[in-house]
Symmetry: C2
Subunit: 270 residues, 2 copies
């Protein structure tokens, strides 16, 4: 399970200012800290972008890649910005992401094909909603898979996001149990290896005591790992959650066990 940092805080005031002035240093510093904390990929969520969306995204991708070799997830629904990010890319970028929502599918999927990059596909319907039932969510996966294949995307480029539900939703518990099942069943449904990603912070969205939030995050990241999740998007500064994720990765994919390894895998101080 690969750890994707969701906390490049582009919307923070100093970062927004750095982007406006195209000064890379604050972004570079932030990226260096995320990598030191254990990030293995970085989600570049620029928030709502103004009229300079394309230029700003190109600048951001270049700034991040000047500080790290880690994969960068271009996390915006603005197709012009996505295209500019793909053009600016000198290392590895992904598109985050598409769904069956027409404006995303029609605008972003062709870019993923043209630039031959990985793309995250959300199991959301045409109106960007998570269907209620497990079977409906699996049907969405099949439809998205077929649409992507028809568009010429190589199957190994797809990373499915079955969408973690906030626990405070009326049916949040059941939806997340279904999500574990979806992660487990996708390879059989799509007849081959399937990569998956999940955004952990969704689980505890909304008001709530932070200690209990962290504890539920830690429990759920282990359950996700146990289902075979490939990538997890999380706050890389939640150190106990990161430690739990690393422990689970070792339990799920390690070959030789040694206490030495458990320790060296602990995240470094940010």
């Amino acid at each position: 399970m690969l750890l994707v940092a969701d906390n490049l805080q582009i919307t923070r005031r100093d970062m927004a200012e750095a982007i406006r002035r195209h000064q890379p240093d604050p972004i570079r510093a932030s990226v260096t800290r995320l990598q030191a904390a254990g990030a293995q990929a970085i989600d570049l969520n620029t928030g709502p972008m103004g009229r300079n969306a394309a230029e700003d995204m190109a600048f951001c991708v270049a700034a991040v890649q000047s500080a790290t070799d880690l994969p960068v997830l271009i996390d915006t629904a603005n197709p012009l910005a996505v295209k500019a990010g793909l053009e600016a890319n000198r290392k590895t970028v992904l598109i985050n992401g598409i769904s069956l929502e027409p404006k995303k599918l029609d605008a972003l999927l062709p870019l993923a094909v043209a630039y031959n990059v990985d793309v995250i596909a959300y199991l959301l319907d045409e109106r960007s909603r998570v269907p209620l039932l497990l079977d409906e969510r699996l049907s969405l996966a099949l439809e998205l898979f077929q649409r992507c294949q028809s568009a010429g995307l190589r199957r190994e480029r797809l990373i499915f996001d079955p969408v973690v539900a906030p626990l405070i939703w009326q049916d949040g518990l059941q939806r997340n149990r279904d999500l574990l099942e979806i992660i487990r069943r996708l390879p059989e449904l799509l007849d081959g290896p399937v990569r998956t990603i999940a955004g952990l912070s969704n689980l505890t969205t909304g008001p709530g005591p932070s200690a209990a939030k962290r504890r539920l995050e830690q429990a759920f990241v282990c359950m996700l790992a146990s289902s075979g999740l490939s990538w997890v998007l999380l706050n890389i500064y939640h150190r106990e959650t990161v430690a739990a994720a690393l422990d689970c990765r070792m339990l799920m994919t390690g070959h030789l066990f040694a206490w030495q390894t458990v320790f060296s895998e602990a995240p470094r101080k940010s």
Copy 2:
């Protein structure tokens, strides 16, 4: 996932003395503390028993049951002691447990049938070893299941223990990944609901740093829960592990989520 305390410390000097003199108070006090710490069943492991095995077990079961209504797991391979425990029982007891090892199967299985109690069945071969391969372990489950059915045990009386491997075993990681798979596959293999139990402390048996041990325990208990484990045998005083197990139980089986519930489920101080 039901929490079974593995730490009724009968082998401690004061407890051993209490048993020798048949003084119930130390046992009663210990049981009360375990229940307060969140135990939902209590493993009564008497260790090696002397020539008064039967009388001592009868005394222990009565002592434990005088302090609690929780189910008691009679955890000994001595058939005379098991029988005495079953006779002394006034509430709920289980036999812990049988395997394909002839002396256990032949002596203890008939007792489970005669007294109509739940019995834990270890997936161990005739020589009490854990087979190397997943398929061999599943075959053992099938054989044990059939042997129990032939002996007249009702299927719902069986609780399978696929045996957690110490991580320090050469193939400990793979064996525990297989264990998660076994828990998940047993219901299909045996064509109906199947209860399972796992002894968590086995995971980190041997020397090793205790903080890392606790962390791995917490991660693994969540993975076990995610596979559908019914009962977990653990040190009920490992409070963070207990909290993780309770969180997972809520995530796996809860209906309505509320932060209030998450808090009230936290274990009380022992």
